[in-house]
Amino acid sequence: MSSVVLHPALLLIAAALLLPFLRGTARNVAVLSAPTLALIALWLLPEGKLWQVQWLDYTLAPLVVDKLARLFATIFLLMAAVGGLFALRQKSKLEIPAAFLYAGSAVGVTLAGDLITVFLFWEFMAVGSTLVLWSAGTPTAWAASRRYVAVHLAGGVILFAGVVGQILTTGDASFHAMQANSLATWLILIGFLINAGAPPLAAWLPDAYPEASWSGTVFLSAFTTKTAVYVLIRGFPGTEILIWVGIFMIFYGIVYALLENDMRRILAYSIVNQVGFMITGIGIGTEMALNGAAAHAFAHIIYKALLLMSAGAVLAATNRRKCSELGGLFHSMPITTICGTIGALAISSFPLTSGFVSKSMVTQAAIDGHLQMVWLFLTAASAGVFLHAGIKFPWFVFFQKDSGLRPADPPASMRWAMILFAFLCIALGIWPDPLYALLPYAVNYVPYTAAHVITQLQLLLFSGLAFFVMLDFLKRTPTITLDFDWLYRVAAPAVVKFSGGLIGGVQRAGSALFSGGIQLVADFARRESQPQGLLRRSRPTCSMGLWVMLMLAGYLLLYYVG
């Protein structure tokens, strides 16, 4: 056992490097089998520190397995497999290899036992995800990818500074729970939070993700933010500020999604919203809360991918992405409609779906900790999730007024990927025990009590009523909503342009003055070096004698005074 240990992350990354050379059936088989094999390899691993490497003065542990790591690695590999199935017919031959590099790196982070390995895979994730964006091949994707990679490289630099600081001060490279109490740990925390979509930089997510291809966004939705959730669970459990960061993200996601018109951007904002629930759970930091955050990440990856698959199927079939141009698609896309609606119910935590059994644990943790304010926010936010994602997305895409479009359901590979994840959304909701068994701490929680089901139904159904009562207010308009990215897309370039002009002006004026001065001196020197000029003039000996005498007298005076 100990001699032949396969690293699941490296397995998937190797497959990613091999895939571009394969064609036809061999490629399709490799796409489906690589994540599956990595999943099997993962489950064959025993718990514990499996690999240790001495590097410089540090002990690196690139392969460490415990329950938390296995949970996240499992869902990442499952996502890679089903995402690969969904993307099988994608024309871009770059996308799936890029997505596997991305997924493999995410698995690498979860299995890393030291900060240096975490950082390395962290950066590989940025590369993989940027390549997924590029493979969309549109000018907007290219522009968005440049902003995306700038934010992530900046986040990487902050994380690296933190990692170096932490290793220098403690002499220990291992990745374990930390307190945000020094510059180094704060930098690590900020580096992690940037990838989670935390304020103020959350705009990178809704800016970039919806620009990927119909299948690319499905991959993008899963790994970066949830890897950030994983490292926060491991690195900063119970850090109180995370409660408020998470609550901000929850409401930011709801408000911006309510205003949004692009169907996939609605779902992108709702990623920030859902990750907010997880971050809040991490901030609460009890076993129940951390279990809830981990379970919610697991459930979220599945239903969010399902929602984005249904949106991707619509995009691939109609080439339209704006709610104001869609509607009435249930006529001709019944399977997509049903699967998308199941995803929408799961994200809203409807009873009998996966969201109900996972998100409730975070809410329960707030109750257990007597955090009434937090609980009120979380409960309002649960209603808001149904509003902005649970009803809004399926209503405007599949129902509302008939757009007259009659595209067919997508091909088999895409259909089966959706059906599989829709099945999981409901299966985990009805039978949560297998998921609970995977959680890092023992679960002492019963989701299905009459009280819980009734209060949740009241909350959700009345928020549904609010949606239809306010429908006129929610009519889609062809608009976008300005976000923090306005600062680096409009304001900063304008400042640079303006100050560039200002500096240029000052420079021109200065250099004119300077060259004028030089010109003046040069002219003077030239003029005075003429035969009759000051510099060529001969001087009488007596006047020289007078000057020397004056200088000597001055010297004598100074000597006397000194």
Binding site: A383, A451, T455, S463, A466, P478, T479, I480, L482
Partner: protein
């Protein structure tokens, strides 16, 4: 056109769905009277708290979003250089 019509396109059926929805809404509130809801906080023990809270907070979120939209909404060609020509 008849061939593509769906039972949901019939206004009569939509009306029936609405009635069914309102009945279910009423049932969830009434059920609260017969089941011990284990209130954790005092505010939760008010009759129909979850229903009212869900409805009112959603109205507030919609109005709040609209208010923010007044300041932050722009045409979707605002970042014109980045937008795809459709």
């Amino acid at each position: 056109m008849k061939t593509t019509e769906h039972w949901l396109d019939e206004p009569r059926n939509v009306k029936k769905l609405w009635r069914g929805f309102l009945v279910v809404l009423a049932l969830t509130v009434i059920a609260g009277a017969f089941v011990d809801l284990h209130p954790h906080f005092e505010i939760e023990s008010w009759f129909g708290f979850s229903a009212a809270y869900g409805f009112i907070t959603c109205l507030l979120m919609i109005v709040g979003a609209k208010a923010l939209g007044v300041f932050l909404k722009r045409g979707d060609t605002y970042y014109a250089r980045d937008e795809r020509d459709e």
